[in-house]
């Protein structure tokens, strides 16, 4: 259980975190989403006491992280893959971490096997790929068999096989009743892994609810219609406060109206339909809608157009 109360972080004039409060519960995978620079990593570093909040506080299992007598047994954390001395071997790194808590050599071997690092355990970390670095970071996080696991961008740099592995691991850990808190800027990843989402944008909590609610919240009804008399249909639909996005001649997307209603309108006026498709918005779209005003760095223009022509991004 992680409880954050009013976390605020100011770097000079920039407010990186602005009164962030949330609770991460055990037995669930909680996703921590947000664009780059939203404050996810800062928040995670604060949880384990590496960064000091300007205001607010955060506790893990009821106590400040530093107040636990055995912090590695309470919280396992992957902060970034290279929080390791590049000149040391993976096995020595883990042994050094384990020694602080009197964790034995056998447990070190266990996490090395668990993360598939056996073949490179004796190699120096400086030569590791990003993916192997991530595995080592996850091995270190699991060292103390912790009740709470925090992973910052765990799938970063992993191959598809590794991504599936992290997903399975996260679900498994939550299934054992642990608190699992994952950050990502990839929605698709969260859709498949998380039960609950906390969405952060420009240092503020934009959403804090189950995955399905986040989609529903940010989602409006949308329908794609193909018809030789598309223009007539649009004219009919516009009496119903509908947003229209022409895609190509004879093909439009309508928002704010159900497929049923479009069908009824078309039938009543004798308009032939060649296609009538309800558009279910993906988590990706929902996220874009939530965070589009809080993205610090746009890639020149609207970032959402490619993802979905129906989002507001296309209309800006």
């Amino acid at each position: 259980m992680i409880e954050a109360h009013g976390l605020t972080k100011r770097y000079g004039a920039k407010l990186a975190l602005d009164d962030v409060s949330f609770t991460v519960r055990p037995g669930l995978v909680t996703g921590f989403l947000g664009p780059n620079g939203a404050g996810k990593s800062t928040t995670m570093r604060m949880i384990v006491g590496l960064d000091r909040p300007t205001a607010g506080s955060v506790t893990v299992n009821g106590r400040r992280y530093a107040d636990h007598t055995a912090p590695l047994h309470e919280v396992g954390v992957l902060l970034d893959a290279k929080a390791v001395h590049s000149g040391r071997s993976a096995a020595d790194h883990l042994l050094a971490m384990a020694a602080t808590h009197g964790i034995g050599r056998s447990r070190v071997k266990e996490v090395i096997a668990l993360t598939g690092l056996e073949s490179v355990a004796k190699k120096r970390v400086g030569g590791f790929s990003l993916g192997m670095g991530q595995r080592l970071g996850i091995a270190a996080a699991l060292l103390g068999d912790p009740a709470t696991v925090i992973l910052d961008e765990p799938v970063n740099g992993l191959d598809p096989e590794g991504v599936v592995w992290v997903r399975t691991l996260a679900r498994h850990l939550a299934g054992e009743g642990r608190t699992v808190f994952l950050s990502s800027h990839l929605m698709s990843e969260m859709a498949q892994t998380a039960d609950h989402l906390i969405v952060l944008g420009r240092g503020r909590v934009l959403a804090d609810s189950p995955v399905s609610d986040v989609i529903a919240q940010a989602s409006g009804e949308a329908v794609r219609v193909r018809s030789p008399r598309a223009d007539d249909l649009v004219r009919l639909a516009q009496t119903h406060d509908v947003a229209v996005t022409p895609v190509e001649p004879g093909l439009v997307e309508l928002r704010g109206i159900t497929a049923e209603r479009v069908g009824e309108l078309a039938a009543a006026s004798g308009i032939v339909l060649h296609e009538l498709t309800p558009l279910v918005r993906s988590l990706e779209d929902a996220y874009m809608t939530l965070t589009q005003d809080s993205v610090d760095y746009h890639a020149g223009g609207a970032p959402t157009t490619a993802a979905s022509p129906t989002t507001e991004g296309a209309q800006r």
Binding site: P26, R45, V48, G49, L50, D51, R52, N61, Y65, A66, H68, T69, A70, P71, L72, H73, E74, V77, L79, D80, K82, A83, V84, H85, S86, G87, R88, S89, D92, H93, L95, A96, M97, A98, A99, T100, H101, G102, I103, E110, A113, L114, G116, L117, R135, A140, G144, D145, P146, A147, E161, G162, V164, W165, T168, L169, H172, E176, G177, R178
Partner: protein, 291 residues
């Protein structure tokens, strides 16, 4: 690489062994011996002490027929066998700075402080391990040098008596002086955090400051420069291993009239003062900073 899902059926547990200072010490020991750069520094310290000590034992000019007491012979022998210590101090300073700035530079410090969130025990353990490591390596190197020096010095008519307790006290002082330089540089590393900057600062303290003082001694009239010089780390470090006979050792200038000259135990306190002051300043900063 295996990517099978974990099969371990453990349940979350919050009990179990916590952080102990012994554990943190063991952790820092593992870190020290598992880096090539630190192992290299130790090897270089040993080579410098043994190499220079043995070389100068073989070529020392001795007393060349002058009358000398056994005590003066011991003093000269101690000066010769510790001739590499000043160079070892320099390497130890680089090691002391690297051992802490290397963690800041690579991000390792985040793993260290995640495991020991109170931070102070980790830094104290690291300081102790660096100090013990440099002291033990230097002491062993000096013992080897002394054994090699007996026959070599005999060749130039200097009799080194290894049964002399005062000689070994001088060797212990020399080993400690190397450890003190490592600790002072460690303190600088905690404050500066950047490897290049901390190494430059450490070399400045060990190498540049004494040069400035020797220039000042020639240019400035008055004994205060000589008195102040006693308190800079390199001078204090040399005072703790001098084999003093009748107020001076064989290779250092006799005290200037009216200037302070530190006794070995006073010099030891001065060095402890430097370490405590720098470590305390570094600790205050590291405890406050984000990492």
């Amino acid at each position: 690489m295996s990517t099978s899902a974990p099969t371990r059926q453990s349940r979350p547990r919050s009990a179990g062994g916590g952080v102990t200072f012994g554990g943190v010490l063991r952790s820092e020991w593992i870190k020290l011996r598992s880096l090539r750069s630190t192992v290299w520094c130790f090897a270089i310290i040993a080579v410098l002490i043994i190499g220079f000590g043995a070389l100068f034992s073989a070529v020392a000019s001795g007393f060349e027929g002058m009358e000398s007491t056994p005590e003066q012979q011991q003093s000269l022998a101690a000066s010769v066998t510790t001739i590499g210590v000043a160079f070892a101090q320099l390497v130890a300073a680089v090691l002391g700075a690297l051992i802490i700035t290397g963690e800041f530079g690579t991000g390792m410090i985040r793993s260290t402080f995640a495991a020991v969130p109170r931070r102070t025990p980790a830094l104290i353990a690291k300081l102790i391990i660096v100090a013990i490591g440099t002291f033990v390596v230097s002491a062993i190197s000096l013992a080897i040098t002394s054994l090699l020096a007996v026959p070599l010095l005999r060749g130039v008519d200097i009799e080194l008596d290894l049964a002399d307790g005062k000689y070994w006290l001088s060797m212990l002082g020399a080993a400690a002086s190397v450890a003190f330089m490592a600790m002072i540089a460690f303190g600088l590393g905690m404050i500066i955090r950047n490897s290049t900057g901390a190494i430059a600062a450490a070399i400045g303290v060990v190498f540049v400051v004494p040069i400035l003082f020797s220039i000042a001694m020639g240019l400035v009239s008055g004994t205060w420069v000589y008195s102040l010089n006693e308190f800079i780390p390199p001078t204090a470090a040399s005072r703790i291993y001098e084999y003093v006979v009748d107020g001076s050792s064989m290779l250092t200038a006799p005290a200037v009239d009216g200037a302070i000259r530190l006794e070995p135990w006073q010099a030891l306190l001065v060095l402890v003062g430097w370490v405590v002051a720098l470590f305390a300043a570094g600790l205050a900063l590291v405890k406050r900073r984000d990492v």
